[in-house]
């Protein structure tokens, strides 16, 4: 089972598989087209597998070629990660973890995690990037992200999910709004207000959950603004453009002039969950997963 095959062949194959065009791929690889053709042919002979179907004027992947494109592109990425990790070990670091997170996780859980991790393991390099839920899932699937913090209910098959923070919702009202904690009875008191909500594009399932809150209260809200930043929501509410509803963890540390009413009587909760890819071989991931699971919020 020992091939003559080299990483070079794999890189060349992936280039052709992406472009489906020998000349273009050759240009991109800075080699000549005949050289590329020969290497691909050699790879096919080595493996005993036809990778491309050469038609008159177009190149197509075979079944086996399609499979190999998918697998090998992951393979080279993982190999790259492995060498990067080895590089960090060489420098005396313990490793690196690429974190993705929705903004609201930055309020508490991420800073806590970083502090505690720095304490227990100062040699872990963290790589933080704020991303929406879907971007994180994509990132996990192709190993650009090791660990994500999302507000999602369902995730693809290979992704693991575990809630770390169960959150109630809070109404966000301008300071001068007639209703406050004292005279608040039920949600339908707000059926004539217009609402500022998080953009469903950011998280469809989160948006649907919020809408369900209003459905349960017997009315459909008029939504006047959609945004993806809580600070924008607060600014808009403060200036009487409408009212809003947000996870409780987002109500901390606002300097805006708004007031909050916690809705602990409704059944909806929004989970902040950690997500990761089962296939991820980053040894740091296991450590940090344990840390997060035992993190006291």
């Amino acid at each position: 089972m020992s091939y003559q095959l080299e990483l070079r062949h794999i890189h060349y194959f992936l280039a052709v598989a992406e472009d489906l065009h020998f000349r273009k791929a050759a240009e991109r690889l800075y080699i000549s087209q005949p050289g590329l053709s020969r290497q691909i042919k050699q790879m096919e002979e080595d493996l005993g597998i036809l990778l491309f179907e050469r038609h008159n004027r177009k190149v197509e992947l075979t079944k086996a070629g399609t499979y190999l494109k998918r697998e090998l592109s992951i393979y080279v990425k993982q190999l790259d990660d492995t060498f990067n990790h080895a590089h960090l070990l060489h420098q005396g670091k313990k490793g690196q973890l690429k974190l993705g997170y929705v903004g609201s996780a930055m309020q508490q859980i991420i800073p806590n995690l970083l502090l505690q991790s720095k304490k227990e393991n100062p040699d872990i390099v963290f790589n933080l990037k704020e991303m929406d839920n879907q971007k994180q899932i994509d990132g996990l699937l192709n190993f650009d992200v090791d660990l994500g913090f999302v507000r999602l209910e369902r995730v693809p098959n290979n992704i693991e999910i575990k809630p770390v923070l169960k959150d109630t919702f809070c109404l966000v009202l301008p300071k001068n709004h007639p209703i406050d904690t004292l005279n608040f009875k039920k949600l339908s008191q707000f059926k004539d207000d217009s609402f500022i909500l998080f953009d469903p594009e950011y998280s469809k399932s989160y948006y649907e959950k919020v809408i369900q809150i209003f459905e349960d209260a017997g009315f459909t809200p008029s939504v006047s603004h959609l945004t993806i930043h809580s600070s924008s929501i607060y600014k808009l509410v403060e200036n009487n453009f409408g009212i809003s509803i947000v996870p409780k963890s987002l109500t901390l540390d606002t300097k805006e002039k708004v007031k909050f009413i916690e809705l602990d009587m409704i059944k909806q909760r929004t989970d902040l969950s950690i997500v990761w890819n089962k296939m991820n071989r980053n040894p740091i991931l296991t450590d940090v997963l344990n840390l997060v699971k035992h993190l006291k919020i």
Copy 2:
């Protein structure tokens, strides 16, 4: 992030990492020692990572080298699997699945699985091997096995486990034994019999569970024989060397002259479980997992 590095370097590195001896590794690789030394050096320069510490008369792996040995040997194996799978696709097959199983799974669940799978997907190649529990776990960890059938309670972290068959226990008695289904009352009736049991080396947790059955009945059995084959047990029981206790699924289709008493009143059950490695990228595995989970026994 594009290296000059080739698979050749990785293979050479693994050889040296295993032998910790350049000359021996070179011999094994059928190349000269200086050639090998140079390739390793080139790899170290390429990666910017020192892989080995060359001491006076011995070679040692660095931290990064140790990590790379572990990871890269898995990569090489996965790459090999990937090409094998592609090869099967090329031949019009759907893929291959390497199954490990304890003997008792062959009684029912494995034949069922194979039959149903052949029906739904005639192009899957199955690769069967009877192995003890621990061998299967080892095989899963280094990807020699895709799916195992074990009698275990606990498995390592990266291994997933799911029970597929809950089994009661049965006493195995010689035909001429004074006790039978009619006059059997409780287990302690057998406290003076000597027992033939499955060797604890085969599965420690299974053995302990069986011993617990007797502890619960208030006595410690005298164990006269240990074996790993149910047929040996039946032969020995038939010839009055003692009595035994086995999972119910093993009582089928015996031509031996023994009788069985089902122990459905005791609390112990033995689970036959499927086990697999989370990191396994064999696309067939997902299909077969679904099949097994919905298999009617």
